[in-house]
């Protein structure tokens, strides 16, 4: 006896649409109808119908999002008309998220400020130019005038934005290494 015969959907169309929406949403990559059907154990035809229904729903309510068929699978994406605003947001979003290189550079600047690029290089052992650019763009660091030494290199320090994003009242609130020594155990 084929198990297929017993595979009768207990889900209504609305439920099917909802679960399909959730799965497309959590997937890291476009998800195929086949995979959707396997996961929720439904017929491919009904899954396909549910996705099409969902797609229509997004269109009729003029959502800021769309259900897109791409690379043989389904995906939720922002609507093309909104790309300008989306791009603007992506560019300006304040974020404490940093790459490791930026984080390292920020750490050196935070603890050694005011500090010049050659000094940062000395401590980190690698060039930090692009990290400094990123940090300036994110407004986490600011320039602190030239150092009165050969070549008068620019000095950098942390900004007010840095304090806000890291929840510090002032720089004295930066923890020191000793502060965490008790936790080492």
């Amino acid at each position: 006896m084929e198990p297929e015969i017993e595979k009768q959907s207990a889900r209504s169309m609305a439920e099917l649409v909802a679960i399909v929406e959730a799965l497309i949403f959590v997937a890291d990559e476009p998800i195929t109808t086949k995979l959707l059907a396997e996961v929720i154990e439904e017929e491919r035809d009904s899954v396909e119908a549910a996705v099409v229904e969902l797609q229509k729903e997004y269109e009729t309510r003029e959502s800021g999002l769309q259900i897109r068929e791409i690379a043989g699978g389904w995906q939720i994406a922002t609507r093309t008309e909104l790309h300008e605003d989306v791009r603007k947001f992506l560019k300006t979003r304040p974020s404490a998220k940093l790459s490791l290189a930026s984080l390292e550079t920020l750490a050196v600047i935070a603890y050694k400020q005011p500090v010049t690029v050659p000094e940062i290089l000395e401590i980190r052992g690698v060039q930090s130019a692009s990290a400094i650019k990123t940090l300036l763009e994110k407004r986490l660091i600011v320039t602190k005038g030239h150092k009165e030494t050969v070549g008068r290199p620019m000095q950098y320090g942390t900004s007010k934005e840095f304090l806000i994003q890291f929840g510090l009242k002032d720089l004295t609130e930066l923890p020191s290494i000793e502060d965490f020594e008790d936790l080492a155990g």
Binding site: A22, F25, V26, A27, D28, E29, I76, A77, V86, L90, R93, S95, A96, K97, L98, S99, L100, S102, L103, E104, L106, A107, V108, A110, Y111, I123, R124, G125, F166, G167, L168, L174, P175, S176, I177, D179, F180
Partner: protein, 262 residues
């Protein structure tokens, strides 16, 4: 199949935690996880079905001490804080045994030796209940999922940094920096006379030294050559002899003790 236990790493109702008396001395212990001495104490009070405002201190102290002995017997490391509590309990117990000063008979002036402990237990119990609430919240929260990755995420990195991360990273940089300096120092070539000194010290400290071991400690070809010359030099001038247990066996440098060394 394995999912169940993961879902409940511990049981707040603590139905599984109990001390089961076996035959004679053979006590069996079903270990519950106790977050601290106050936690254990609360458990014992509840197990004895005692009133928290009128703790039968002698009985609870006995139970508490018994439990700690059991843990020790099972080679479970007993944190110092548990022992501190045992001492506190014994102290309270002895205070309770002291006859009351008749001049202090008025109830108001009499401070129950258990009071401070009861207050602490009551306060602790609140936080314990709060932690159960947090536990339930995160369990519910685990049923909610955020969106999968989208293209624009890649542009935004990576580490959602806190002040703690800044410090940790800075510490790592300092360590890395120090290692590099150490390496640089090590890279400087050691002179022949220093090498001879090192070798001599090693032979006289260890009585005999495997030549291969010594050579393996060298960090560069140049050092190895210096070490080789040093060995030749020391055998020639000092009271040291080369021995080899069998042909092609290990070569050992030995100090000549009943010295005829010049």
């Amino acid at each position: 199949m394995e999912e169940e236990p993961e879902q409940f790493v511990f049981d707040f109702k603590r139905e599984t935690a109990e001390i089961v008396g076996g035959s004679s001395d053979e006590l069996k212990l079903k270990l519950g996880e106790f977050a601290g001495p106050l936690d254990l104490l609360l458990f014992l009070i509840r197990q004895e079905q005692a009133n928290i405002f009128d703790i039968p201190i002698a009985r609870i102290t006995d139970e508490y001490v018994k439990y700690i002995r059991l843990m020790k017997g099972l080679d479970i490391a007993v944190a110092a804080d548990f022992l501190v509590m045992a001492a506190t309990l014994i102290e309270i117990k002895s205070k309770m045994l002291l006859p009351r000063d008749p001049s202090e008979l008025e109830e108001e002036e009499f401070e129950d030796p258990r009071k401070e402990l009861v207050d602490r237990l009551l306060e602790y119990e609140q936080y314990k209940a709060a932690s159960q609430m947090l536990y339930e919240r995160t369990t519910i929260e685990q049923a909610v999922f955020g969106r999968g990755k989208i293209e624009s995420d890649d542009a935004n990195a990576e580490i959602n940094a806190s002040v703690f991360d800044i410090l940790t990273v800075f510490q790592k940089i300092l360590l890395r920096h120090r290692d590099e300096i150490k390496m640089e120092i090590a890279r400087e070539e050691i002179s022949l006379s220093d090498m001879i000194k090192t070798l001599k010290r090693r032979i006289f400290e260890e009585m005999e030294l495997n030549i291969l071991t010594f050579f393996e400690e060298m960090q560069s070809r140049r050092e190895l050559v210096t070490a080789f010359i040093a060995v030749l030099e020391i055998v020639r001038t000092e009271s040291v002899k080369l021995t080899q247990k069998k042909t092609f066996g290990e070569i050992i440098l030995k100090a000549v003790t009943n010295g005829t060394g010049n």
